[in-house]
């Protein structure tokens, strides 16, 4: 039998304080939290958000926002790299395809269009080289002339 007149012991006071802290959301001890949850459930009201719990929620929210921002900046960096590579690819396309025909003629290349085949039996190797050398000589002079006037 419990005597109501007897003052509470130190242990009872400590337990009561722990329970109060749990109800206020200041304690994270699982037993206290369970007890607090049972008290709240029996009284039919939601647990009150304590100052410490609120601070924890704020800190967690700030940390989550930081993580999100870091992830977002990584994605942005990836996008920038992608755009840079795309721009480089476009530059190469311009160089290869879209530039005027003249620079292409100044390049060393197969002579299929200069000395078209199949070769006739009457055409000699010397005649083929005449055509090829003449074409490449003209292209070389054009390129030198272009560079001289640039």
């Amino acid at each position: 039998m419990v005597d109501d007149e007897t003052p509470p012991s130190q242990e009872e006071l400590a337990n009561a304080e722990a329970l109060r802290r749990a109800i206020d959301g200041e304690s994270h001890a699982s037993e206290d939290a369970q007890a607090a949850a049972l008290i709240f459930a029996s009284s039919g009201r939601a647990p009150r958000l304590g100052e410490v719990a609120a601070r924890r929620l704020v800190l967690e929210a700030v940390a989550a926002a930081g993580r999100k921002r870091r992830t977002s900046s990584l994605a942005q960096w990836s996008r920038s790299v992608g755009v840079a590579l795309g721009a480089a690819a476009a530059a190469v396309v311009l160089f290869v395809v879209a530039l005027p025909d003249a620079p292409r003629r100044w390049m060393s290349r197969p002579s299929g269009s200069t000395v078209p085949g199949p070769f006739s039996p009457q055409q000699t190797a010397a005649q083929r080289l005449d055509l090829l050398t003449s074409d490449r000589m003209t292209a070389f002079r054009e390129s030198r002339l272009y560079e001289a006037h640039r």
């Binding site: 290869v96 197969p110 080289l129």
Partner: protein, 173 residues
């Protein structure tokens, strides 16, 4: 994923840019000019029926140092191999073998389809035709086999020419 695709695209286009080759320069022109002169010398020697001298001229073309990777250099060399094969083709089995060996050297050097590569196969066909004619009377069965080899060589030539022409048709507007 997108970055990888971009990188692949860039690399592919860079390779395409490289495939355009180097600028025409003095070194290429000098090599072509020298090859041209040797081939003309061969023509002059042949006009006087000096086949050995003509062969020596054409062999000089194969000693020219063309700029590395210059397609014109490869083509001039393939043409020289084909011409040597034609010059060496004589009335004996050994002559035909020597001529075919020159064709084979040219084939081994070729790195891409070209009219010159096709020309090598045409010359191979001519050599087999000449051999078939030479042995037709004495070795009818073998002559038939050799004619089949000639047909195969001509078929290869036609196929290469068709591929080159198709590629050129795509390039030109």
């Amino acid at each position: 994923m997108k970055r990888s695709l971009d990188l692949l695209l860039t690399l592919g286009l860079a390779l395409a840019a490289c495939s355009r080759g180097r600028r025409i320069d003095e070194r290429l022109l000098l090599a072509l000019e020298e090859a041209r002169a040797w081939q003309h010398r061969a023509d002059v020697h042949l006009a006087d029926h000096e086949v050995a001298a003509a062969g020596a001229d054409v062999e000089q073309v194969l000693r020219i140092r063309f700029p590395p990777g210059a397609p014109e250099g490869e083509e001039a060399r393939l043409d020289a191999w084909a011409r040597l094969a034609q010059l060496y083709l004589g009335p004996s089995e050994n002559d035909e073998d020597r001529a075919l060996a020159e064709v084979q050297k040219g084939r081994a050097e070729a790195t891409r389809d070209s009219f010159y590569r096709a020309h090598l196969e045409t010359v191979a066909g001519e050599i087999f035709e000449a051999r078939a004619r030479r042995i037709a009377a004495a070795e009818a069965e073998r002559a038939r086999t050799v004619r089949k080899e000639a047909l195969e060589a001509y078929a290869r030539s036609i196929a290469i020419n068709q591929r080159v022409q198709a590629a050129l048709a795509k390039e030109e507007p």
